[in-house]
């Protein structure tokens, strides 16, 4: 079991307060990619070159000193236990890519875990800001402010015409990826989701499931993000995402209301059943847990359930992931044991709230 403070708790400090539209928007995230001039990108960098990059970037944010965005801690990937890395990924604080493909990889995390600055991921520098609820503008403002801190002392790879030069052509220009994580059970249940997702694709945005880029949308949670980084200003990108997200939120709202008026009994039954199963089951795989937690979250919003709180649900979404279970119950869990401990955790958390 780990003693790393960032992996002890499932819920980052930033997740505790709701933010707006928190019944639908779980979190907002902004990431900006930057590189230093005249250093090969991490893809080609040798161990020494990667360490050099770390030695240039890490000192820009004084560790242990208040920055205005909290106090930062530097974690070098080579110094971390495998399990800690897994949990940091499950908490969305670092990318799977930083764990798997990186030489000289590191992350700077602030106290409340709302800012994570990855070094030697696909790009030399990736500044990520996470906010609870629908706060994509706030996340951008923080990310660009941190970018300014780096920019004051780092010569970025920047070109007049192409903007910020990134390792992958899909990030060039602004280097900006903004996203919102949304819970859309009613749109899934009423089978409107595909229509909406393809419409979203047509306006330069993309939608994926939450864990890992290729994974299915676990528990009806989707991530909507911008696809285009070149030829639009940051403000345009953020505004576009913002207005599309607002429309999706409204569609989801309407679909929820329609479910409640057209099939109140059926939906109430489904939600109560899921709550019952989460509270009493002895074995539970991740897929079922995600789906049932999604039902309970919907139940809270519709007023069918009074407990648990949204933040308990957010916490369970992270804690039921394999890495976190291993962290809590022992590193060498078989998949059956994992399902058993997941059920135990859910029982102990939810079984006492009614």
């Amino acid at each position: 079991m780990s003693n790393l403070r960032f992996t002890e708790q499932a819920l980052s400090e930033w997740m505790r307060s709701g933010g707006s539209h928190s019944e639908i928007v779980i979190s907002s995230r902004v990431r900006i990619a930057r590189n230093i001039q005249h250093h090969p990108f991490p893809l080609l960098a040798t161990q020494n070159q990667a360490e050099e990059v770390m030695n240039v970037l890490a000192p820009v944010i004084d560790q242990g000193k208040e920055t205005g965005f909290g106090t930062f801690h530097l974690l070098k990937l080579d110094d971390l236990e495998e399990l800690d890395k897994k949990v940091l990924v499950e908490k969305h604080l670092i990318s799977p890519n930083l764990v798997n493909d990186s030489r000289g990889g590191a992350v700077l995390l602030n106290e409340d875990e709302s800012v994570s600055i990855m070094i030697n991921e696909e790009d030399h520098l990736r500044i990520q800001c996470l906010f609870p609820g629908f706060q994509v503008r706030e996340a951008w403002e923080r990310a660009t402010a941190i970018d300014d801190i780096f920019e004051a002392s780092i010569d970025y790879a920047f070109d007049d015409r192409r903007g910020y030069l990134t390792s992958c052509p899909t990030n060039v220009g602004t280097g900006l990826r903004a996203s919102v994580m949304v819970h859309l059970p009613a749109l899934v249940m009423t089978q409107q989701i595909n229509r909406i997702l393809s419409a979203v694709n047509q306006v330069g945005l993309t939608v994926r499931g939450i864990y890992g880029e290729g994974s299915e949308a676990a528990g009806n949670i989707f991530q909507i993000s911008n696809q285009i980084t070149l030829g639009q200003t940051e403000a345009e990108i953020i505004d576009n995402l913002h207005s599309v997200a607002i429309q999706i939120i409204e569609h989801e709202r309407n679909a929820r209301q329609r479910l409640l008026t057209d099939s109140a009994l059926r939906i109430t039954d489904r939600i109560m059943r899921s709550y019952g199963i989460l509270s009493y089951a002895a074995v539970m795989d991740l897929k079922e847990a995600s789906q049932r937690l999604s039902d309970v979250r919907l139940g809270l919003d519709l007023g069918i359930l009074k407990a648990p709180s949204i933040s308990v649900l957010n916490e369970l979404n992270v804690k039921t992931q394999p890495g976190f279970l291993q962290n809590l119950f022992g590193e060498k869990l078989s998949s059956t044991e994992c399902d058993m401990y997941r059920a135990k955790l859910l029982r102990e958390t939810l079984g006492t709230t009614h």
Binding site: N97, A152, D159, G163, C168, V172, G214, I228, T233
Partner: protein
Amino acid sequence: MVCQECGVRPATLHFTKIVNGEKTEFHICESCAREKGELIPGTSGGFSIHSLLSGLLDLEGAGKGKTAAASTAQGVRCEECGMTYGQFSKLGRFGCSSCYKYFDKGLDPLFKRVHGSTAHVGKVPKRAGAKIQFRRQIDELKGQLQQAIEQEEFEKAAEFRDQIRKLEKEIAQE
């Protein structure tokens, strides 16, 4: 359309591969694509977006039937990191920021396809930014100058020309 691999799930990925000028069409579902390690935009199945890009890049050269010019383009090398255009088109990623300069010719069509645009209009680093701001203003003025000339508004045109000269002088003094 049904997936050509498993014949069960609907095909959601459609792409064309060109190998030695031979065109092959693929229609497969996501899970078969993942199993085969084939390209899926936006997934982490080993290749992901980079393979998709490399498909696009390959198309640029191979589509014209592997002309001599296309093979020469594949051999263009970035003098800073040593990556060739051929390698770039396989990996779908640049080796260093200078690659952008050495591969510049091939990039406009790629950026056009990925972003619908080829030029950055967003944030500019403050320290390097003053010149860039001037240059953007100059570009804009040049456009206005052109328009003024076309509409035979020569007094206006003269004004734009003077403004451009003034800015160019300021850049030179920096």
